[in-house]
């Protein structure tokens, strides 16, 4: 119940999300990791409104995080679908056309 515990949960979520992004070769798998990270940060914000701040802005920001995550997930998945239609693969290494 203490601040530390919430922070540590948020940390675990963040790390797991990071590991998922780095370890998976699947684009959608990476998007799972992104969702985890976003959740970790939203959790952080809400935690800190309760423990440090009488300000309610933390809640507001969490709402916006959720909102943006939704929009981003929608557009990102649309792109992935389009990518799959073009490339016939969702391997991350087939998306390296921006290399120099």
């Amino acid at each position: 119940m203490s601040l530390i515990s919430y922070i540590s949960i948020s940390l675990i979520l963040f790390i797991c999300g990071l590991v998922v992004i780095l370890a998976r070769k699947n684009i959608i798998g990476m998007l799972l990791g992104v969702e985890l990270i976003l959740n970790a940060s939203a959790l952080n914000f809400v935690t800190f409104t309760k423990y440090f701040n009488s300000n309610i802005d933390g809640h507001i920001f969490s709402l916006f995080i959720i909102l943006v995550a939704a929009a981003e997930a929608a557009v990102g998945l649309a792109i992935v679908i389009r990518f799959f239609q073009v490339r016939e693969s969702i391997h991350i290494d087939s998306a390296t056309q921006l290399q120099s």
Partner: protein, 181 residues
């Protein structure tokens, strides 16, 4: 009491879900474990007296995004991944990452974790943390949204419109016989 209980269950759910997302080889299973993790986070919000957020999380994230992810997985053939056995007798699922990437990721995760732990705990342990009885209501959130953060609120509506339209356009099926202008 109830809060503590809720906290432990939610925490367990979150962590278990997150770790399972990392470890699972099956994409759909990892999606479901993500779902569990998000439900746990919602529970955590409840323990933090953020009822509105918890509800929004459940509705948007759990009911929307994860479903969307599942749809995308289905549409891109992510469920048909067969388990391959390579020459050393190790099983690996293509596109889910092999040992090398996990080790690499684990290392970087460890590094970042170490740094973050060091920072956080060294600063947090010094300062006193006070849990204040701060109760919020939906009414407060609504008032704040429409007074202090009205710009972000409106912009977010534009954003959502853009996302909607964009996603619809990007994911439209191809008509290959159409001549491009």
């Amino acid at each position: 009491m109830f809060l503590k209980f809720l906290f432990y269950i939610s925490a367990f759910l979150t962590v278990f879900g997150a770790i399972s997302v990392v470890v699972t080889r099956n994409l759909i299973h990892s999606c479901v474990y993500l779902l569990f993790s998000l439900i746990g986070v919602a529970g955590l919000y409840l323990t933090l007296n953020a009822e509105f957020i918890a509800a929004t999380q459940l509705v948007v994230y759990v009911g929307g995004i994860v479903v969307l992810l599942l749809f995308a997985i289905m549409l891109t053939g992510g469920s048909n991944l067969k388990v391959l056995v390579n020459k050393f007798g190790l099983e690996s699922t293509p596109l889910m990452g092999n040992l090398k990437t996990y080790i690499f990721a684990a290392l970087s995760g460890l590094v970042l974790a170490a740094v973050l732990i060091k920072i956080l705990f060294s600063s947090l342990l010094k300062s006193s943390t006070v849990s204040n009885n701060f109760f919020t209501t939906v009414e407060d959130v609504g008032v704040k949204l429409l007074t202090d953060h009205i710009l972000a609120f409106e912009l977010s509506s534009v954003l959502l419109l853009g996302a909607l339209v964009g996603a619809a356009i990007i994911a439209r099926p191809q008509r290959s016989t159409e001549v491009e202008e």
